[in-house]
Amino acid sequence: MNLTSQDYQVLAPYILLTAWACVLLLVDLFIPKERKSVTALLAALGLAVTLGVTLSQVGIEQVGFFNMAALDGFSTFVNALLLVSGILGIALAHGYVKRMGIERGEYYTLLLFSVSGMMLMAQATDLIIVFIALELLSIPLYVLAAFARPQLSSEEAGMKYFLLGAFATGFVVYGTALVFGATGTTSLAGIVAAAASPSTSTLLLTIGAALVLVGFGFKVAAVPFHMWTPDVYQGAPTAVTAFMASGAKIAGFAALLRVFATAFPALAVDMTAVLWALAALTMIVGNVIAISQTDIKRMLAYSSIAHAGYILMAFVPYGNPAVRDVSIAAGLFYLVAYAFTNFGAWGVVIALEKKEEKGLAIADYAGLGRKHPLLAAAMTVFMLSLVGLPPTLGLVGKVYLFRAVIAGGFTGLAIIGVLTSLISAYYYLRVVVTMYMKEGEPETVRETWLSLTTALTAIVTVVFSLLPQSLFEWASTAVLKLF
C-alpha cells in the first residue's frame, strides 16, 4: 500500500515543521554558544515558512493517512493561529532567555516540536493521534517549564506540570480505551457510526467521553482541574508561560472541539449540562481568586483560568445544530483575541522582570505611566482587552460569545459571564491604576524583538476590534464544514 500526494498534502505543514525541528536540533549542535540567536532565527523562519504553507492551503478539504488526519478550514485556521503563537513565543523568548542566563539552543527546538504537536492535534481525526499529539505537545512544555533549573521555582513548575500532565494524559487514554471498548474503533467518524447502532453501550461511551473531557480539562486549565496552573505559570520562565498559556489552550480547545463535535454529538444531552457547569465554575473561580493576587504572574495565571471558562461557554450548545456553527466560530474568534492579548500582556511582564524573580509584583508597576508611557499604554490596552472593554479585541470576542450563548438558550450562563467580567474589571484595572496613579521608578529592559512584539500585539488588539467582521467570517467558514 502506498500513500498518495494527497496524504502528504494533508500533513504538509506538520511534516515540514517536524523535519525542520529535527534538522535544527542537529544544526544547533554546531552553532557556538554565543550565537544562539541564529537558532532562534532559524526556528522562527521554520515557523514562518510553515505558516506560508498553511495559508496556501486555505480552502482545501481532505483527509489522509488512512483517515487519521484531516485538512480542513478548521485545522487551517487553528494551525495559522498556532504558528503565529509560536513566532510570538520565540520573539518574546529571544532576549529573555539571554538576559536570564538560560539561553540554550534546545529552547527553540523544543518549542518547534511543541507547535508541531499542537498542529497535529488540530488535524487529528483519530483518538490515537489525539493522544500522541497531546504527548508531543506536552513533553516539550514540561521541559521548557523547568528550563530555568537549577532555580527551584522553575524545577517545581516543571515537576508539577509533568506529574499533573501525565495524570491528565492518563485520563485521555483511559477515556479512549473505554470509547474503543464501546464502539470498537478510535476513528472519530467510526465512533459516530457505531454510536448510532443500538448494540453500542451508551453508558460506556459516555464514561469514556467524560474521561476524555477531564483530561482536556486539565490541559486547558478548567476548574476543578486547574490546581496546577498558578504554580506552573508562576514558576516557569515567563516567556515559556506566555507560550504555554496561548498554545496549549488553543490546541486543547481545538482537539476538544473536534472530538466532541464530530465524534460525540449523540452525547450532547448529557454533556451540555456538564459543560455548562464547568464553564460557569471556571469563570467564577478564576476571576474571584485572581482578585487577591499581588504577583502579576499569578494574577495572569488565574486570568488564564477564567478565560478558559469563557471559551468553554462556546462549547455548551455544541449539540444544537441551529447555533452550533456560530457559537464555535465565536469560540475560535475568542481564542484569537485571547492569544494576541495574552502574548502582549506577558510581553510587558517580561519587559519589567529582573533576575531572580524580581519585578513581578503588581506594586512594581507603579509609575510606569510616567516613565514609559508607551509600554504603559500597551499594558492598558491588554488589560482592557482582558476585561472586555472597548476599543479592544477582547470586547468584540465577548460580544460574539455572549450573543451565541444567548442564541443557544443559555441566558443564565451569559449572565454569569457578564457578572464575572465585571468582577475581573477590578483586578485588571488595578494594574492600570497602579501604573498611572502611583509613584514609582520602575526599570524596564529594551529589546528590539520584545518591543516589536508588544507593539504589534497591542496594534492588532485595537485595530482588529474596529474591523472584526473579516476575521469572524474566516472563523465562520472555518467551522462550516466541520460537521
Partner: protein
C-alpha cells in the same frame, strides 16, 4: 494432563511465588529482581497464548527498560532497604478491600466466561487465525503508519528533554 496444562501449572506457581517474593522482600533491589522474574513468567504466558509480540514487548520494555529504571532509582536514592515501620497506616486495610473486590470481579468474569454484552470484536478477527505477528505488522505499517512515525518523533523529543534537564552546562553550579 496435557503438556500445556503442566507447563501452565508450573509457570503459575513460579508467577505467584515471584510475586509474593517481590512483596515480602525487605530489600528493594531483591523486590525488583523478583519482579523481573515475574515479568518473564508472564511473557511466557503470552507465548503460550500465541501472542509473541506482546511477549517480546513484555520482556524488552517491562523486564528490560522499566526495571532498569526502577533499579537505577533505587540505587540513586540509596533506598534499597526499607525501614520496618509502616508509613501509611490505612494502606493495609485498603489493599485488602481492593484485593477482595478484584478477586470477586475475576471470579465473576471466569464464571460467566467473560462475554461482554456489546459483543465487540477485536480489530481484524484474523489476528487469532493467521500468523498474528504478520497481521500486526500489516496493521502497524499501513493503517497506523502515522502514529508509528509520530512515535519516533515523540521518543526523540523525550530524549532531548531528558538531556536538557539532566545535563549541566559548563560552569554551571550544581
Amino acid at each position: 494432563m496435557t503438556p500445556n496444562l503442566i507447563l501452565f501449572l508450573i509457570l503459575a506457581l513460579v508467577a505467584v511465588a515471584t510475586a509474593l517474593g517481590m512483596l515480602f522482600s525487605k530489600n528493594a533491589v531483591y523486590s525488583a529482581l523478583f519482579l523481573v522474574l515475574n515479568f518473564v513468567t508472564v511473557a511466557v504466558f503470552y507465548l503460550l497464548l500465541g501472542a509473541p509480540f506482546i511477549a517480546m514487548a513484555q520482556i524488552t520494555v517491562y523486564a528490560g527498560a522499566i526495571m532498569v529504571l526502577f533499579l537505577f532509582v533505587i540505587m540513586l536514592l540509596g533506598a534499597e532497604r526499607l525501614p520496618d515501620t509502616h508509613v501509611l497506616p490505612w494502606q493495609k486495610p485498603l489493599a485488602t478491600v481492593l484485593t477482595v473486590i478484584l478477586a470477586l470481579e475475576s471470579t465473576y468474569l471466569l464464571w460467566t466466561k467473560a462475554r461482554p454484552s456489546g459483543a465487540v470484536l477485536p480489530p481484524g478477527a484474523e489476528v487469532n487465525t493467521v500468523d498474528n505477528l504478520r497481521a500486526m505488522a500489516m496493521t502497524l505499517f499501513n493503517d497506523y503508519l502515522l502514529p508509528f512515525e509520530v512515535t519516533s518523533v515523540l521518543l526523540l523529543v523525550a530524549m532531548v528533554g531528558v538531556i536538557v534537564l539532566v545535563r549541566r552546562e559548563k560552569g554551571q553550579k550544581s
